[in-house]
Symmetry: C2
Subunit: 103 residues, 2 copies
Amino acid sequence: MIKVSVFYPNQEGKKFDMGYYCNKHLSMVQQKLGAACKRVDAEQGLGGIEPGSRATYIAMCHLYFDSVEAFQTAFGPHAKAIMGDIPNYTNIQPTIQISEVKI
Amino acid sequence: MIKVSVFYPNQEGKKFDMGYYCNKHLSMVQQKLGAACKRVDAEQGLGGIEPGSRATYIAMCHLYFDSVEAFQTAFGPHAKAIMGDIPNYTNIQPTIQISEVKI
């Protein structure tokens, strides 16, 4: 199982519409990716481990697929629509990585 | 539900023993945190979204709790033992954040 993680850095002065992200964007992503996407997790950064510290990421989401190929096949045809929706909820540039699920 | 995410930056020349991390360290963490820890996810970074690019994080783990207080109560008594085990698998300093689970 692989995991595609999207991280939105918690940058001062930037905007992030969590309501749109969870209710509109991620719903659209799941609908477009279909059954190839086995699971979606999304979270909102509260803070760092030290009380009062900032969270590194204001939001993150994680999409699970059986393989990198399954992700690429599902995502490729919809990449433009999915990436094109980003300005509707944020002006933060996300970092993305692909990982292998170990536990 | 809250999520405590631990990120290990993918730094050149540093070591990370994934076998020890998954089989020894995270088993010990789960045993010490007990039932307060509802779920553990761990993954190994494969790469960035662009083919051939590096993953930002060589490893990540995510621990789920009902609340920040539940995490602090479970983790506090074992913080020294858990953090003290880190040098056994890595010389990378992790970043940690607490997030609220949205999806």
